[in-house]
């Protein structure tokens, strides 16, 4: 059991704090919603009703979409763009998808390479881009989730104010949808860029996200190994 936890500590730790944070968000969101309802002299909503409401789900979805967009863009950008000296980047001159020999695909696959690395055509293409495809799919689905949840919330407010309901198309063109979207995107892009740049000169001893402490500032992660 101890070995299982040690071998998978990173994923288990993040799964645990994800679930705890989501639980915390649900408690805080429930309390906040009932505060608002009380101020408007309306009856409180139950916990289960709250966590299954679009009010709660849209807040979860808008954060999910931006996180997965961040990784989608970062994975894609690091194929073609370089930041000299960053451990998050390949070294200048290595831009692009790399040759088959370097990528261990096709006839260059090793005996322990994944089966699809030995495949050809569509299967090799799909496996070669599978991480990007999955991250992009989760981004699009959570962005869609944000749009349908946001539409329900916006139309509840419209009904209270006697305004006509918005169609889905009208909602995704509305300021509310883009306000929710872009407030999350800006922070993701800032944090990724900061990580890329700060890690040129700064170190965290022992972290796989950092160059070794004594690695020169000009070296990328590949060069510093």
């Amino acid at each position: 059991m101890r070995k299982v936890i040690r071998d998978n500590g990173l994923s288990l730790a993040f799964l645990t704090i994800f679930l705890l944070a989501l639980l915390g968000q649900s408690f805080a969101g429930h309390a906040y919603t009932n505060e608002q309802l009380q101020q408007h002299h309306q009856p409180p909503v139950g916990y289960f009703d709250f966590i299954t409401s679009s009010d709660f789900l849209v807040d979860v979805a808008e954060n999910w979409q931006s996180e997965f967009l961040q990784f989608f863009l970062f994975i894609l950008a690091t194929v073609w763009l370089i930041q000299r000296g960053s451990p998050e980047s390949k070294k200048p001159g290595d831009e692009g998808v790399g040759g088959d020999k370097e990528q261990l695909v096709g006839e260059h696959a090793r005996s322990d390479s994944p089966r699809w690395a030995r495949a050809k055509g569509v299967r090799l293409w799909a496996y070669s881009n599978s991480l990007l495809i999955l991250m992009g799919t989760i981004f699009l689905l959570s962005w869609f989730a944000q749009s349908v949840g946001g539409q329900v919330v916006a139309n509840e407010e419209n009904a209270q104010h006697g305004s006509p309901p918005l169609t889905w198309i009208e909602y995704v063109a509305s300021p509310d949808f883009w306000n929710r979207t872009l407030q999350n995107w800006q922070s993701e892009f800032l944090a990724v860029g900061a990580m890329v740049v700060f890690s040129i000169y700064l170190r965290q001893r022992g972290s796989s996200e950092s160059k070794p402490v004594g690695a020169p500032h000009g070296a990328s992660s590949v060069e510093s190994e």
Binding site: V4, L15, T52, V60, W64, I138, L141, V148, G149, Q151
Partner: protein, 35 residues
């Protein structure tokens, strides 16, 4: 990697896929149902 380690790694991978799939399903289905 030993077989037992491979098995554990697969369980970890599919657990994450499962959590995200459940999350996305709930976040799409309930608003579409008008919740």
């Amino acid at each position: 990697m030993e077989d037992v380690d491979k098995q554990q790694t697969r369980v970890v991978f599919w657990t994450w896929i499962g959590v995200i799939t459940i999350g996305l399903t709930v976040m799409i289905a309930l608003p579409l149902a008008g919740r």
